[in-house]
């Protein structure tokens, strides 16, 4: 059991954070419905940041079309639920398959390239998906929006909150277990030094594609939740700005930590909402602040929150040893 705890990286602060999130909707002001909506939006981004970091933080592949894959999962799930009257609980899982397959195809094409080229290619894929969602009006209703059934019949946000919290945890758990496995070792190796990985007998393309498929599948799964939470989909959910939001949060959380994005998401999405509402007469300014913040983090705290946490833990250890 101890071993399993270590493998999933469960620590006391991690446990406390989990309990904190579990209890949060019961304390004012977080028990208000509109604040719960914010929290859910934050957890969607947090869960996405985990999946984003799974590629970005380990195999050094920045999926700049991330929200395109997310949206593909969302639309697939919504359309299956509408056309075939399937339960959304089922369709969010089937919906995750289409971004996984697209991840396989685009991965085979792009992942033999170098980092910057992959970024451009995935960006293009994301833009193309958004373009398709806009143009295929007969299927997606374009920018009119596609109404779709919701997961619960209630108007309360509480069950959704716990659902996305659970999904975020599952995303973390699965990805952490993969990272701790034989595969994870190869992922990290490829991210750090591709040539050396090759001279260790690893075919980087194969491992990168496997990683990419998994990340895209989870993106689509979380996208499915998005669809059946908001109950309406518009193509702009796949926009580059939305991907940037996920990227920023993954980076602030700390590349290669997985958990960092989940922790960063709630405070950061809140802060951004506040800034957005304060600066509501200057649209776009919040994106500039995003950009500046990201540059600041990359320059001065390249390890993000996770690095800061590691340093504090290391310091406490040293103190502990000094006391004995």
């Amino acid at each position: 059991m101890k071993k399993f705890q270590d493998r999933i990286g469960l620590s006391m602060p991690g446990l406390l954070f989990g309990v904190f999130l579990l209890l949060l909707p019961w304390f004012p002001p977080f028990n208000k419905e509109y604040i719960l909506r914010w929290l859910i939006a934050a957890l969607i981004v947090g869960a996405s940041a985990i999946a984003f970091d799974f590629s970005g933080g380990f195999i050094a592949v920045i999926n700049f079309g991330f929200m395109g894959f997310f949206g593909l999962g969302a639309y697939t799930s919504a359309l299956l639920a509408i056309r075939f009257h399937l339960s959304p609980w089922l369709t969010i899982f089937i919906g995750a398959l289409s971004p996984a397959i697209l991840g396989l195809l685009s991965g085979l094409v792009s992942l033999r390239l170098r980092g910057m080229m992959i970024l451009c290619f995935t960006w293009f894929v994301g833009l193309a998906l958004m373009g398709l969602a806009t143009k295929l009006v007969f299927l997606t209703r374009g920018s009119l929006g596609l109404p779709c059934p919701t997961l619960y019949k209630t108007a309360s946000n509480v069950p959704y909150y716990y659902t996305i919290l659970g999904m975020m945890f599952v995303t973390y758990l699965v990805m952490k277990l993969v990272i701790q496995s034989h595969y994870g070792l190869a992922f990290r190796a490829i991210g750090q030094n591709m040539e050396a990985a090759r001279t260790s007998g690893i075919n980087p393309l194969k491992f990168r594609v496997v990683n990419f498929i998994l990340a895209c599948a989870f993106a689509g799964w979380i996208g499915g939740f998005y669809a059946h939470y908001y109950g309406v989909l518009t193509p702009d959910l796949m926009s580059t700005a939305k991907t940037t939001e996920v990227l920023v949060i993954a980076y602030i959380g700390g590349r290669g930590s997985l958990w960092g994005g989940a922790v960063a998401a709630v405070p950061f999405v809140f802060a951004m909402e506040v800034i957005r509402s304060v600066l509501s007469d200057m649209p776009g300014l919040n994106l500039i602040i995003y950009g500046l913040f990201l540059i600041f983090v990359m320059l001065y705290y390249p390890g993000g929150l996770a690095e800061g946490y590691r340093k504090i833990v290391a310091k406490l250890r040293v103190k502990e040893i000094a006391q004995h």
Binding site: R188, A189, R198, T199, I202, N203
Partner: protein, 234 residues
Amino acid sequence: MLEVNNLNTCYDFLHVLWDVSLVINEGEYVCLIGPNGAGKSTVLKSIAGLIEIKSGEIFFKGISIGDKKGDQICRMGISLVSEEMNLFTGMTVMENLSMGAYTIRGKKKKEALMNFVFELFPRLAERRIQLAGTLSGGERKMLAIGRSLMSDPSLLLVDEPSLGLAPRVVDTVFQALEVLNKKGVTIFLVEQNVTKTLQVVDRGYVLERGKIVLEGSRVELSRNEHIRKIYLGV
């Protein structure tokens, strides 16, 4: 064991290797010496499949490997040791070694290989959980060699192991290579430290401006006028 015929290699438009041919027999300890920029590292990278070759043939144990990729070549038993390419600086010593053994199946065999590496380099054993990026220059070289050994290679390509090392550490590294060769590993060594190299190898080649200009046994090379003047400085 290894046969290279008329190998030509280019970096884009820069033609670096010109009709390089060489042979290495099983169990031999062979060196490749030459001035900076001659193309020595390029020879090793071509054999290890890290760069595409333009023309020529490379045979390993009778199989043509000229068009194979680095990962396939590694699995066939050729391992390249070069500092720039061998370490995962953000991983611990243990993780680096595990990566070296990635293609090895069987826990027992991996453990045996790891024990062998730690026997060869006791300093690494003391630093199991240290990040490779924080090791000293000598320790990095040891780890780079250790990591290569973890794939249980039959041919070890070693690129300038003495570069930037203190003389005492150079001795450690050279001793380790000799131990390996005695154990049956074939070694192809690229070195700048010619004096030391010609004390240990069986045979050698001299590469200048991308061409093999000289070859011979250790004794022949040590006595050669050109070598004595240019490389040994006597």
